[in-house]
Structure formats: structure tokens, C-alpha cells
Amino acid sequence: MRIPSLFVAVCLVAATPGFGLAAGFNPEMTKYVQGLETQAKKQESSFKGFDAARGKKLFFDAQPNAKSGPLSCATCHTSDLKKSGKTLVGKVIPPLAPSANKSRLTNVKETEKWLLRNFKQVYGREGTAREKGDVLMFINAQ
């Protein structure tokens, strides 16, 4: 019996871990988020999937910073992600919310670069796979 290839493809996608979680991402970003998910599962046995609410907390939690004073993602990106923000040296940052800025979260290289830089900036360390996924879920829902 010949199984239609489309049927096989659908089954494969459905069986992929975290299918559905990366809704709204393009294929490149979906693959990236699924990779983060695989990593998160390895790192935390209790991991049950990314959570936008945890991402929101990471985004808004201000951390002590000797140079700038308490610093969170929202310090520069503001508390409304649909609006433009401003860097610490005064340069305008176009909105982070994909609903207000279509180019956001469409390019893996850009996304990885800014997650790395900004986690280091705010938290003084790289984000874990779970943290990155959580924050992406939060941003993507804006």
C-alpha cells in the first residue's frame, strides 16, 4: 500500500516535540525554537514547555546594574512592546512586538545575537534555553 507523502509529512510534524508551541513563527524560527525546547528538556527534567508568563517576568524584572541603575529589558524597550524604545545612549529602537514590526523574530541569527547581548546586558550572563524560549513566547504574543 502506498502511503501519500503529505500524510507522512503531517504525521512527522505532529510528532515533532513542541509542535504548536512555535505557532506564528516562520519555518526558520520554528526550527530554532524547537531546538531550544530540546535543549531545555535536557537541562531541566521538570520542563513542560515554554511559558509566555515566565517570559514576561524575565522581561520586566529589573536587575541591579552599577552603570545604569536597575535595568530590565523594558528599560530600553519600554513596557509597551508595540512602541519604539530607546537605548541607554539615546538611539531609537523600533518596536519589538511582531504585531507592530513585521521583521521581528523572523531571522534566527538576529534573534540569537540580541538574546545573547541583552541577557548579558541585563542578567550579566547568557540566558538558558528555557529562558530564551520563554522570552520569545512573550515577545511573539505582543
Binding site: A66, V89, R117
Partner: protein
């Protein structure tokens, strides 16, 4: 020739004028904006893409080799981007430029000095001696790194002091 004859006289004058200015090696107000697209994108995302003409080659090399802690912030870049941007900065650094600003900048620096900030150079300090420290701290300015706050067309290389507008807050 045909296209020249169709040009309005004013445009023709503009062409002649700009070529005369260029022939003089570029005045301090006509340095132009930074042009390299990787530099504009990667460095210009956070701050003004400062004209490379403001610092000597040795400064740009030091800046680009310490990006992991860039004035306390992480500005890490992959190696390919880093070498492209450094190449551009070096090629257009103060040492390689004939602009008035570059010459004055270099003259103000000792050869052993490798400033990482334009605002640390004696030339910058002299030019801004009338600006009080608290003015730089105003909310819409923040620090001397924010050229555009007062030099509205700094991104185009226009630092003409007659066009300076200092925000009140």
C-alpha cells in the same frame, strides 16, 4: 553633457560648490556620515555610528577587540562581521583621513594615548568646554556619547556649531 544642460542652474552651482569643497579636503562640517552597512547596522543599532575619522586606527583596533565588554555592555559580534567593520574603521580612521577634524584630533593626542571614547580626547573636551557636565546628564541627552541630541545631523557628519540645539531637559 546632455544631462548637464538640462540641469537647473542652482543644481549646477551646487555641483560646482560641492566639488570645490571636496577639493579642499573636506571642512570640519562636511565629513559625511558613516557608510559601511555592517557598521551602520551592528554598531548603529545602539548608538550613533560615529564617523571613523574621529579616532586613530589604534583606537578602533582596541574598541573592536574588546567588544565582549564594550563600556560595560556586551556587543559581541561574529568574527566575519568584526573584521569587516574593523577594516572599514581602519581604512577611514583619523590617520587615514585628511579632514580638518581628524588632523586636529590627532594633533591633540599623544602618540601613546589610545582613547576608546571620542569624548575622552583633548580635542573633544576643548570643543565642548562651554558645555557644563550637568547639561550632558539631561534626560534627553544622557551622556556625551549622544551626539545627535544636540548636533541634529551628526549622522550626516554635520557638527557645525552654529546648528547646535541643546535640549533644555
Amino acid at each position: 553633457m546632455n544631462s548637464l544642460s538640462k540641469m537647473p542652474i542652482s543644481a549646477l552651482f551646487a555641483v560646482i560648490f560641492s566639488s570645490v569643497v571636496t577639493a579642499h579636503g573636506g571642512g570640519s562640517e562636511l565629513m559625511g556620515g558613516a557608510t559601511n552597512s555592517a557598521y551602520l547596522k551592528e554598531c548603529g543599532a545602539c548608538h550613533l555610528a560615529y564617523q571613523p575619522q574621529f579616532l586613530p586606527k589604534r583606537s578602533w583596533e582596541k574598541v573592536m577587540n574588546t567588544l565582549d565588554s564594550h563600556f560595560g555592555d556586551s556587543a559581541a559580534l561574529d568574527d566575519a562581521l568584526k573584521s569587516e567593520i574593523l577594516g572599514y574603521l581602519v581604512k577611514n580612521s583619523a590617520d587615514a583621513s585628511s579632514s580638518k577634524i581628524s588632523r586636529k584630533m590627532l594633533a591633540s593626542l599623544g602618540t601613546a594615548e589610545t582613547p576608546l571614547k571620542i569624548s575622552d580626547t583633548p580635542y573633544f573636551k576643548r570643543k565642548h568646554r562651554e558645555v557644563r557636565a550637568d547639561v550632558f546628564k539631561r534626560k534627553s541627552i544622557g551622556s556625551p556619547a549622544n551626539c545627535t541630541a544636540c548636533h541634529l545631523s551628526a549622522d550626516k557628519g554635520d557638527y557645525d556649531e552654529h546648528k547646535v540645539k541643546i535640549p533644555r531637559k
